[in-house]
């Protein structure tokens, strides 16, 4: 198993921490992982992205130009990464603020209304966990029990009381993800 | 009476401290370094801390201080002695750590290091030799060179327009919260030397009490650099240096 993911959006959306939780979940089930934050010129202008790789084998390049999955949370990232999804791959996006929706016909496209859903939850900080839930529904590459373990590792102990809320946000994301285009 | 009748232990009135080595000093006759070295060695001897003292020598004439005081030494890059002393004291808190620096080293190239070490209140001793000139490189202007004073890089005398005024670094150091004892002394006479020795001793004692940085400036003579005889140098120093660099404690708490 090898899954190469790009998560891209604005700074503050929890892009980096979502990637970190995913990476930690991978470690919890004995996989190799890398987490590489945006570290190129694209970092300017308030966008943030992270490449996460989970693999059963040793990972070579942490920097990629093609991805199995793109999780896209703003328009700039859509413009940049839609074409970098491998043929047959997966694109998940939050339509909030998106003016040009994805057009590829050779990939699976899903949407998750994470802004609205996290607002319904009463915690906008759970935004990224709703998105994570949507992703895990489409690609259950890590088991939920390992995600919870990953959460525990990534969140400081004093905030562990927030774990049930995060778990709920993941569940909602899993339930409410919508497949817009299927190949 | 023959010579051997005179050279007897009971007739001895003075001997050099065993903490001084037997090496012949390279300093010019009349230079203050030799006297200050002697005073430091005597303090180390009297406090019984030879095994616990680490000296940091600078770049300048006293780069070779390690040849004369028989303790462990680190020889620093120009101006950096307070950084070495900081780490040495923090990593070996049971040691007495002192830097020995000239005016070019401390007040010019090493201003950042000395200011910050003193501001952090490192429990070290700083011995600052201020002779208003670069001795080792051949008599160039120092930050502490007096107005109008001729040096090889101010051949027509120091002017404010070209060089600014002398840097009163010790007054600056005294403002820093981290320093506990800041004093300015001299060694042109036996009486002055005795006072300087007391100041050095107090500085070392402070360091054991973790009171912060102790800073002892010694207004010194560089007769070669000043192009004066040793006697004239001392007179010139009293007459010209002391008004700009007045002797006495600036801070003692």
């Amino acid at each position: 198993m090898k899954e190469e993911i790009i998560i891209a959006g604005f700074g503050g959306q929890g892009v980096l921490s979502m990637g970190k939780i995913l990476a930690y979940s991978g470690i919890m089930q004995g996989q190799e992982v890398t987490w590489m934050p945006s570290y190129g010129p694209e970092m300017r202008g308030g966008t943030a992205n992270v490449t996460v790789i989970l693999s059963d084998k040793k990972i070579s390049s942490p920097i990629l130009s093609r991805f199995d999955t793109a999780i896209i949370l703003n328009q700039q990232s859509m413009d940049k990464f839609e074409n970098q999804v491998k043929q047959g791959g997966l694109l998940i996006y939050d339509p909030n603020g998106i003016t040009r929706h994805p057009q590829r016909k050779d990939i699976t496209i899903c949407s998750i209304e994470a802004v609205d859903l996290s607002a319904e939850l009463g915690n906008s900080k759970a935004y990224n966990m709703v998105v994570l839930g949507a992703y895990l529904k489409k690609k259950p590459i890590v088991e939920m029990v390992n995600v919870i373990k990953g959460l525990k590792k990534s969140i400081p102990e004093r905030h562990h009381t927030l774990i049930p809320m995060n778990e709920k946000a993941i569940q909602i994301g899993m339930e409410r993800v919508t497949e817009l285009h299927t190949i | 009476m023959e010579l051997k009748d005179i050279i007897k232990p009971e007739n001895k009135v003075y001997s050099k401290s065993p903490v001084l080595t037997n090496k012949v000093m390279h300093y010019c006759p009349g230079c203050s370094h030799g006297t200050v070295h002697k005073l430091i060695a005597e303090v180390i001897e009297e406090m019984g801390i030879q095994e616990k003292t680490i000296g940091i020598s600078p770049v300048g004439c006293s780069v070779f201080a390690y040849n004369y005081i028989d303790i462990d030494w680190q020889q620093a890059a120009h101006g950096r002695a307070p950084a070495l002393a900081t780490a040495t004291k923090r990593l070996c808190p049971d040691k007495y750590v002192f830097t020995y620096q000239g005016d070019g080293d401390l007040a010019s190239i090493g201003t950042a290091e000395i200011i910050h070490a003193c501001n952090r209140g490192e429990n070290i001793v700083v011995i600052f030799i201020n002779n208003a000139i670069y001795g080792m490189t051949g008599g160039q202007m120092a930050p502490t060179t007096l107005m109008g004073m001729k040096t090889s890089t101010s051949p027509y005398g120091r002017t404010e327009e070209l060089h600014g005024k002398p840097l009163k670094i010790t007054e600056l150091i005294a403002q820093l919260e981290g320093t506990c004892y800041v004093t300015r002394q001299s060694v042109q006479s036996a009486a002055a030397s005795r006072k300087t020795k007391r100041a050095i001793r107090k500085a070392f004692e402070n360091s054991a009490l973790n009171k912060g940085t102790s800073f002892v400036e010694v207004v010194s003579a560089c007769n070669s650099g000043w192009k004066l005889t040793p006697v004239k140098s001392n007179e010139w120093m009293v007459e010209n240096m002391f008004p700009s660099y007045p002797i006495g404690d600036l801070k003692d708490r």
Binding site: V33, P37, S60 | I54, A87, L91, H116
Partner: protein, 359 residues
Amino acid sequence: MAEFILMKGNEAIAISAIRNGCDGYFGYPITPQSEVMETLMVERPWETTGMVVLQAESETSSINMLYGGASCGKKVLTSSSSPGLSLMCEGLSYLAGAELPCVVVNVVRGGPGLGTIQPGQGDYFQACKGGGHGDYKMVVLAPNSAQEMYDFVDLGFDLAFKYLTPVMILADGVVGQMMEKVELRPVKPRWSDEEIKKNFKWATTGKTPDREQNVLTSLALDAAVHERLNHKLQSKYKQMETEDVRFESYMCEDADHIIVAYGCMARICENTVELARNEGIKLGLLRPITLYPFPTIEIQRMVPQLKSIMSVELSAGQMVEDVRLAVNGKIPVNFFGRLGGIVPSPHEVYEAFKKEINK
């Protein structure tokens, strides 16, 4: 069971220092490596192992703090990024001249000047060919993962004390900022004062009546003495070249061509090798782990089987000079590099490689 933690390369440096008996860290903030000191300040090792951590007023000061600490026989560490390293070069020359051990981490960014905070490998010359003044070398270790960032702190101290010399960990922004799984190796305690006195007779531990004073200096005004000191340094560098060359080969056995790359570029070029192999091109990868001493002999050993070598760097071409020296004109040596903090993808490297061999 081994304990795995997800951490950045920079964090791995800090955690490794604490767990490997480091006595002191002295540093100054600069992107992209500030997490090293930040992590240490959060961990507060002075309350557990007794390790000293201090934010210095400048990189000039932190490297000289290392001089002081190393003089006492302590394991001392600093980290910085390119512009900071330029300031440290004075101190590194003095440390090398006074034969003092320390570990210096450079998480390289793009230069020259203030450059960019994005990753670079343009400090190869500075690290391997001097940087500071005079005839000196440092062992230069080039990690390519968070695990190696962790492991090379300990290895760095071993080599620093073996040769009594500064050792540099030459990382890059990718290796410093990337998070990976890191195995925490068994803890090594700090050396006691007694161990230091016994093992490092040269250290300024305080002059006792049973020995001569210890003086740590790089000054020797007597020409003959100074030449002897230099010869002694040179003999250490010869010894490094025989005993401590480290490298890793990937698919080199049957290779017609190889890429030479280090740090993050070696990771990226592993994928390039796979792309080439998928198209039936026998490409291999040689990754120098020590940039100094350089794996010259390994390259020379491989030359007869090869049609070409390509050096791939985040620079305008620095390591390629050492590759050329090793190859000595026998086969073509090509170069591909990106500048300005741009990190090429495996595909981009592959395209550049194909262009060169099809010329």
